[in-house]
Subunit: 428 residues, 2 copies
């Protein structure tokens, strides 16, 4: 193949991606004006159509699974690709749940009246076009489309190349559901090419796309953040901490640490590092670490922890900033609250940090001084989750401070405009 024909192919691909983004942008104007009735009809119809087309989608999914196995992909990663059983049911239930959520668009918040009688309100409006860049799990295609469109946006979906057949099949059904209801078909677009360069080009199209949400491993997040001209809300790693204060109740501490670590292993809101007040380490650690050990959790301890609990292995420096997503817990004895906060500022990822304490002053200090996206007292890290916090749904957990910080639901997919109602008011 000559150089010029390669160039032609690349520019053809770019033209294709550009056209798709432009159509999304036009569709976004129409989607912004839809009422809940139209958007909810699409959500419910999409759920029905997916049920109806289940066999065809499973076929497409099987193609992806076979290809992954053929490439020798590891079993857990193949599992994440699979659209079956509970995952399938959850995906369909998700569409119906989002239909039942209140529509944020058009809601007017906090109207005030100025001294001259001018009424000043703030109305929720959609952001425009959301670009989702994600890996593996094809159910994100449906979950993200549901939330973006319900919030009045168009969505451009760029899943991993390993899920391309599943994503295309799901996208076709979502678009058909749009054609058969009042939602513009182009409000849902699956990028049909898997070429890396096409993604880089997508990230330059700030005239059409308003926000990029990357979900996936640190490598993906870094790449997207570095090369995007479009604003990015990172849904990044979680190196979450639980700090056992001097006064922590040992039973509560044990239950919370176990729930935070082993309820689900491969989630970003699991605890990865346990910090323990030096004065309470002897009283708390043996029982808690023994319970974890019995549940086959590997303990990587600092020297004091290894002394107190000989079942530990010594932690290395890199363990303090590691998102294990596995039955491993780093454990460190600290000098107190200030030292714990210092550790989190140095090694944390702005995700979720919990203190277990019976002291009012330390609880207050923790909530005020730790500026991760979720901070808490005497509860599991697992509550850092849009459903559990009452957002109704979640497109992810943002570790970017701008716009939406922490679990991000429908409201995070909108913005506020100022709405003025006057009777001829002049400034002068």
């Amino acid at each position: 193949m000559s150089l010029s024909s390669t160039k032609d192919t690349a520019s053809d691909l770019n033209a294709q991606v550009r056209e798709l983004a432009e159509r999304s942008s036009l569709a976004a104007e129409k989607t912004a004006e839809l009422g809940s009735r139209e958007k909810d009809a699409w959500l419910l119809h999409a759920a029905d159509l997916l049920e109806q087309e289940r066999a065809a989608i499973q076929d497409a999914n099987s193609e992806d699974l076979a290809a992954a196995e053929g490439r020798g992909v590891s079993a857990p990663l193949v599992k994440r690709l699979e659209l079956a059983g509970g995952k399938w049911d959850d995906m369909l239930a998700g569409l119906r749940d989002v239909a039942a959520l209140p529509d944020p668009v058009g809601r007017v918040e906090s109207t005030t009246v100025r001294p001259n009688g001018l009424r000043v309100g703030r109305m929720r409006i959609p952001l425009g076009v959301i670009g989702m860049v994600y890996e593996s799990r094809p159910n994100v295609t449906v979950d993200a489309a549901a939330l973006c469109v319900k919030a009045g946006n168009a969505v451009v979906l760029r899943g991993g190349s390993e899920a391309i057949h599943s994503n295309r099949a799901l996208g076709d059904v979502l678009r058909r559901a749009a054609r058969e209801t009042e939602v513009p078909e182009d409000a849902i677009a699956v990028v049909p090419v898997t070429d890396r360069a096409a993604i880089d080009y997508l990230l330059e199209l700030d005239e059409f796309i308003d926000l990029i949400i990357p979900r996936g491993g640190p490598e993906l997040i870094r790449k997207v953040t570095r090369s995007s001209r479009i604003p990015v809300i990172k849904h990044d790693a979680g190196v979450c901490h639980v700090f056992l204060d001097e006064t922590a109740n040992v039973d509560m501490a044990r239950e919370i640490v176990i729930d935070s670590k082993i309820r689900q292993m491969a989630v970003c809101n699991g605890v990865e590092t346990l910090l323990v007040h030096r004065a309470a380490a002897d009283a708390l650690l043996p029982e808690i670490l023994k319970a974890l050990h019995e549940q086959r959790v590997e303990i990587r301890g600092d020297p004091v922890t290894c002394e107190i609990f000989p079942g530990s292995v010594p932690a290395s420096e890199s363990d303090w900033s590691e998102e294990f997503l596995a039955p491993i817990l780093a454990v460190k004895v600290v000098d107190g609250l200030d030292d714990a906060i210092e550790h989190i500022r140095r090694y944390g990822s702005d995700h979720t940090e919990i203190i277990i304490t019976e002291r009012y002053d330390n609880a207050q200090k923790w909530l005020q001084r730790v500026n991760s996206s979720t901070v808490g007292v005497n509860c599991s890290t697992a509550f850092s989750d849009g459903f559990r916090l009452g957002l109704g749904a979640e497109i992810g957990i943002s570790t970017s401070k701008l716009h939406a910080y922490g679990p991000m639901g429908l409201e995070g997919l909108t913005t506020l405009k100022f709405v003025l109602q006057g009777e001829g008011q002049l400034r002068e």
Copy 2:
């Protein structure tokens, strides 16, 4: 000079900028923990010190003015550089006004109780380090520092090279006021170099700086947006519209258009294009355009306007997207509300759009369908202003939809974290 020594100089400059950003980042942790009392003490002391050091600052300002005149800079631009009279007084009053504003940091909004008893609140926290990139007006140095620090942030100030002596002098006083109160000195940093490459490098330092706010001409905004790795909130051009609906009251329309155009010429919230319903053009335009003409406003009209008001000159295509900032108004006759909205979507800048109407349905449609950052009925475009809308102060007017859209005050310089208060709640 050899190539290698140029390289050394560049890397020296970069090291200097990097060190400054890192110190700002450390200072931001401390600033985030300050109470209002400490921050307000700094603001008031800074105002006193500026009064005391007025002569020295004026000397520095004179240096900038002389240099600008020496380079043959136009009189209006030299004027913008000047720190005298009313501008000086406003700058000092600004510091005292910001001290009187309520502190957003630590405020807990919308606490709810989950079915399991877990309390979920959202607490306002600072963003961290704000990088301000601006041109000419040295008073921005003081205004921006006041707002950023009051909201608990550190600020890195990079004004134009033409104002470097004024900005350094002002920065010195703000830092001295910090040393003499409880605010960390490094919470206020003026980038001491004017080298372009140093700015490009600053925009890469996303490990230290959390947000970039560019204020200035379109060229500056474009450059910053394109090269920044740090999230950017654009404070961009305003191509604002007033639409005279079929039922507009002619007296109200005339007064609002005049207030929106000639109250101040060189502001982003002035009207630049007047749209008029075809059915009312004959009744409304002659009187309104005559009044503007008498005030020496040049009318650039579409063919229908030129016919109705012969004092017009024909508008060119580029006039519809021009921010004149001058006694010029583009005027176009449109077929109705839909056509007006279409025009704004094509040529507008998402800033401020006002309808003058007596019709309830059209007022509602306008407020709902036009998604610029400020939309209004029967009032002047001049109300798109943080002070006038009741925000207390304004760091600028954002035309970026993410995080803060429209006039941006103290709250826009903060974000919300989730705050959980439990008694041992587990997810399972």
